[in-house]
């Protein structure tokens, strides 16, 4: 296998770390040395030649190749079996509707939320239960990190360079969650979004930090979901009025109440779409009166339509918690779901 990348020799593991840190090639954490052998193993796993074009970044026309993705994936700690997810996430991010350049350069400081569905979760040991949005397992940790390192090294999305985030958030190290499909009656997110049943898939969303909520004092779906909707209204008031994809992470305890009452993901989305909306005049209550102007009576829903809500079953078994993950900037970026496939000499997917 003929790799095109320049090589460097380092005398020790410490020297490797200093080489990568000093060149600005890391996220600040130690990396796994991307040796030829490790990178080739990733490429062989997906049966791609090194120069396989994964896609062209739409704004600056940057060619993203399998070899460069693999190098960064190895650095992040990926094993070959993790690499197909990284490739698919990047294919999804390069779809025009994701607006990757804007989402990764913006002062708004979002991260790329990655949701895994299908059998690949079980093959990788990707956990969708305890600590689902945190350091739950190796697979989601390294996949999310790989996506970030690729952004840093392939698109110069470094803080102060292309990345102009004012604050950012911890999800910019890694932001990947597997849906707990085995412990829910709900359709998996990907199936809800049109991927055939049983296919492994990746959903990417330009996402703010999770906003955790709690309601342990009711079993009524309407009351549980009112708490989620209230958190979304808070986001509309405090952050951005732009409608778009929101994600709800619903752990087992709250999920069981909803499921017992027969509520599907579509039912949830329909209810939340009706409840998660504010009047523009509410901005005056949170210090933003200057932009209310003469449109105080205008109503702003969190989503343009109910199907913009991404409902994900994930989280540990106990605790009446949930999370709302808000969009970076409403409809400026749309979530993209793509199934995983081994692709030899094929064109980047068109939606």
């Amino acid at each position: 296998m003929q790799l095109a990348s320049r090589t460097y020799d380092a005398d020790s593991i410490s020297a490797v770390q200093e080489l990568y840190h000093s060149n600005g090639w890391t996220d600040g954490l130690p990396i796994v040395p991307p040796t030829r052998e490790a990178v080739e193993a990733c490429l062989e796993w997906v049966m791609m030649p090194p120069d396989q074009l994964i896609g062209i970044e739409p704004v600056r026309g940057l060619a993203i190749t399998a070899e460069k993705l693999a190098i960064n994936a190895v650095m992040a700690g990926c094993l070959p079996m993790h690499f197909p997810v990284v490739v698919t996430a990047w294919m999804a991010m390069m779809q025009e509707e994701f607006l990757m350049h804007g989402a990764t350069a913006s002062t708004g400081g979002c991260a790329v939320l990655i949701v895994l569905n299908g059998p690949i979760r079980l093959e990788l040991g990707a956990g969708g239960t305890f600590n689902a949005l945190g350091n739950s397992d190796r697979a989601t940790a390294v996949i999310g990190r790989a996506v970030r390192l690729c952004l840093i090294n392939l698109m110069d999305v470094r803080p102060g360079a292309i990345d102009r985030s004012t604050l950012g958030h911890p999800g910019k190290f890694s932001y990947c969650v597997a849906e707990d499909e085995e412990d829910t009656t709900w359709l998996p997110l990907a199936e809800q979004r049109g991927v055939p049943k049983g296919a492994s898939s990746v959903t990417v969303m330009a996402a703010g930090a999770p906003r955790q909520l709690m309601n342990e004092w009711t079993t009524k779906p309407e009351e549980i979901l009112e708490t989620f909707a209230a958190e979304m209204r808070a986001n509309l008031r405090h952050y951005s009025i732009h409608p778009g994809n929101y994600a709800l992470i619903i752990p087992k305890q709250l999920r069981e109440h909803l499921q017992a009452a027969g509520w599907t993901k579509s039912d949830i989305a329909g209810f939340v779409h009706e409840r998660a909306r504010i009047h523009r005049r509410e901005w005056a209550e949170v210090g933003k009166g200057a932009v209310v102007r003469d449109r105080g009576d205008s109503v702003y829903p969190a989503m343009e339509s109910a199907d913009q809500l991404l409902v994900v079953a994930a989280g540990g078994p106990a605790g009446g918690f949930g999370a709302v993950i808000p969009p970076w900037l409403g409809n400026k970026s749309h979530a993209v779901t793509l199934p995983l496939g081994v692709c030899v000499d094929c064109e980047p997917p068109k939606k």
Partner: protein, 93 residues
Amino acid sequence: MTFRVLDPTPGTAAPLGQLAPRLDTLQGKTVGFISNGKEGTKGFFKHLDQILREEYGVAKVVSRTKSNYSAPADAHIVAEIKGWDAVVSGLGD
């Protein structure tokens, strides 16, 4: 133990546009503004418009605003650039 490791970057600089030839003077020229549409650009471009006309003799200022401040300029705006002598763009918040 020696590690032979690989460069994780493209290795070549990202393709960049080339700067147009610099103007000798702004006198009598047409200058285009491409705003990203954010609130802070309004006062800035208004003031710049005044300076260019009053102090530098610019004949015409054309102001355009992108439909999406996080995306590249709309095609119809880019198409207009050929008719301008200079462009002020790339300004954010």
